[in-house]
C-alpha cells in the first residue's frame, strides 16, 4: 500500500469514526464519495479560523442575528 493509499484509508477511517459518534455507519463507497467534500469543508473552516481573532471573543456563542424584541 502506497503512502497516498494509506492516507486515503486513514481519512476514511477518521470519517467512519466521526459518523460513528452519531451512531451512523457509512459504507466504503459513501466514505470514498464524502472524503473530497470533507476536505473542502475543512479548507473553508481553516480559512475562517484564521480570520477569527482571539481578541474578539463573543459574550455568547450564538446571538440572534436580528435584535430580539421580547414581549
Amino acid at each position: 500500500m502506497g503512502e497516498r493509499s494509506r492516507a486515503a484509508a486513514s481519512l476514511r477511517q477518521h470519517l467512519a469514526d466521526l459518523a460513528g459518534r452519531a451512531g451512523v455507519t457509512l459504507t466504503e463507497q459513501e466514505l470514498a464519495d464524502l472524503a473530497p467534500v470533507y476536505r473542502a469543508y475543512r479548507d473553508g473552516l481553516e480559512r475562517l479560523g484564521q480570520s477569527l481573532s482571539l481578541d474578539d471573543e463573543p459574550a455568547v456563542i450564538f446571538e440572534r442575528p436580528v435584535g430580539r424584541q421580547t414581549p
Binding site: 470519517l15 466521526l18 459518523a19 459518534r21 452519531a22 451512531g23 451512523v24 457509512l26 459513501e30 464519495d33 464524502l34 467534500v37 470533507y38 473542502a40 469543508y41 473553508g44 473552516l45 480559512r47 475562517l48 479560523g49 480570520s51 477569527l52 474578539d56 463573543p58 456563542i61 450564538f62 446571538e63 440572534r64 442575528p65 436580528v66 435584535g67 430580539r68 424584541q69 421580547t70 414581549p71
Partner: protein, 460 residues
Amino acid sequence: MLPLADLSARIRQRSLSPVELAEAHLARIEQFDDELHCYLTVTAERARSDARRAEEEIARGAWRGPLHGIPIALKDLFDTAGLRTTAGSRVLRGRGPTRDAAVVERLAAAGAVLLGKLTLHEFAMGSPRLDDFFPPARNPWDLNRIPGGSSSGSAVALATGLCAGSLGSDTGGSIRHPAAHCAIVGLKPTFGLVSRRGATVLSWTLDHVGPMARTVEDAAIILQAIAGYDPADPASARAAIPDYRAARHGAISGVRIGVPRAYVEATPGLEPEVLAAFDAALEVLRQRGAEVRDVTLPMAEHAEAILLTILLSEAIAYHAPWLRARRHEYGQGFSVRLLPGLFFTAADYVQAQRGRRLLCRGMDELMAEVDLIATPTMPRAAPTFAEEAAASPIPRSPCTRLFNITGQPSISVPGGLGRHGLPVGLMLSGRASDEPTVLRVAASYERATEWHGRIPPLLT
C-alpha cells in the same frame, strides 16, 4: 393568470365567485400537473368547502380581507391538521399532523382557500432526482430543467396558474432560488417576523418562512397575513407590523443601493447573460432615481463555511435518530448533502457562530451606508436534471445565503432572461425589519419592466 390582488378585488366586488375560482384552479391542476408534478396532495374537497364558506361570508358582507376566497397552496413542510405533511420525504410519507402550522392558521383565518400541498426538495435541502420517491417538480420554462428549490412546487404552481399564492421556507435561498428560475416573486422576511411553528425544521437558526407570489403586491398581501409575534416560536420577534401593501408605493429617488460587484463577478459559474441582465436591472433602478454604488461585503469569502457548518450541524442534530434507524428511506440527493454534517465537531460549530457574529456586525456597518444590497439571485439560469445530478454535493448559493446568516429581508423578482431564454432573478436585500423599503424598490422595478408578466412556453 391574474395577480392575486386583481382576483381579490373582483371577489370583493362579487364579480368573481370563490367557488368558480377554486374550480378553475382544480381544473388547471388536472390539466397540467401530470407534467409539472408540483402538487403532492390536492385537497379538492377542502378547497370546495373553503370556497363555499368564503362565498357565503362575502355575500353577507363579512369580507375578511384580500386573501378571502383566494386559492392558495402550501409547500408540503407546513403542518396541516388531518392532511399528510411529508417534507417531500419517504421518511414522513404517512405523517398526519394533528395541528396546523402557525402560518396555516393565519391563512385560514384570512379566508384563504387551500388547494393542496406542494412538492419540495426532500427535507428542504435535497437535490432533485428524477427517480426520487416523490417525483420532482419540473420547470415550466423547460421541463428538462429543475425549477430551483427547495420550494420548487410553490414556484411552479404560481408560474403556471395552479395557485394564486403560496408559502415557502428559506434556509440558504429556498424561496428565492425557485422564484428566480420560474420568474415569480419570493420574499424571505426578516428572521423572527414570521412564525415557524409547525414547519419542518432544517436549521433552527437559519430557517425562515415567507411568501411566494406572482407580483410584489401579492407577496406583500400574503406577508401581511402571516407576519406577527408567536410565543410558540422561540425565534419570533415582537415587532411592529407596518402596512406592507401600502409600503410598496412611492418613489425610490435617493434610495442608496449597494452592489458587491467584486463578489458578484467572482461567483463561480456566473453566466455572462446573468451579469448582463443584472447590469440592465441596475440601470433601470438608476433611471428611477436610485443611487447605485459599488460596495464590499464583509466576511463574504467565509459565508459558505459559516452557513454550511451551522446548517448541516443543526440538520444532523434534527435527523440523527432517523439516520440511525431509517437511513435507507432517504433519497440520494438529500443524503449526499446531509451526511457531511456528521463530520463537523463542536469546535467547528462554535467557530462558525463566531464568524456569523462578525459577518452580522460587518453587515450592520455596511447597511448604515446603503439602504439595499442588489445582486443576481442565482449565478446561472436553471440547470437540467442531469446537470444537477452531476453537480457537487456542496450546495452553492453565493448571494442568497448571506441573508440567511444575517436574517435580513431579501426578495427575488423576475429580472430578465438568461441563457436559452430562461428566467433570471434580481435580488434586493434590506436592513432588518425594513421590508417596506425592500417592497417599495422591488415594486418600482417591477412597474418599470415586463419580466413578471411572462408566460412559460408550456402554457402558450
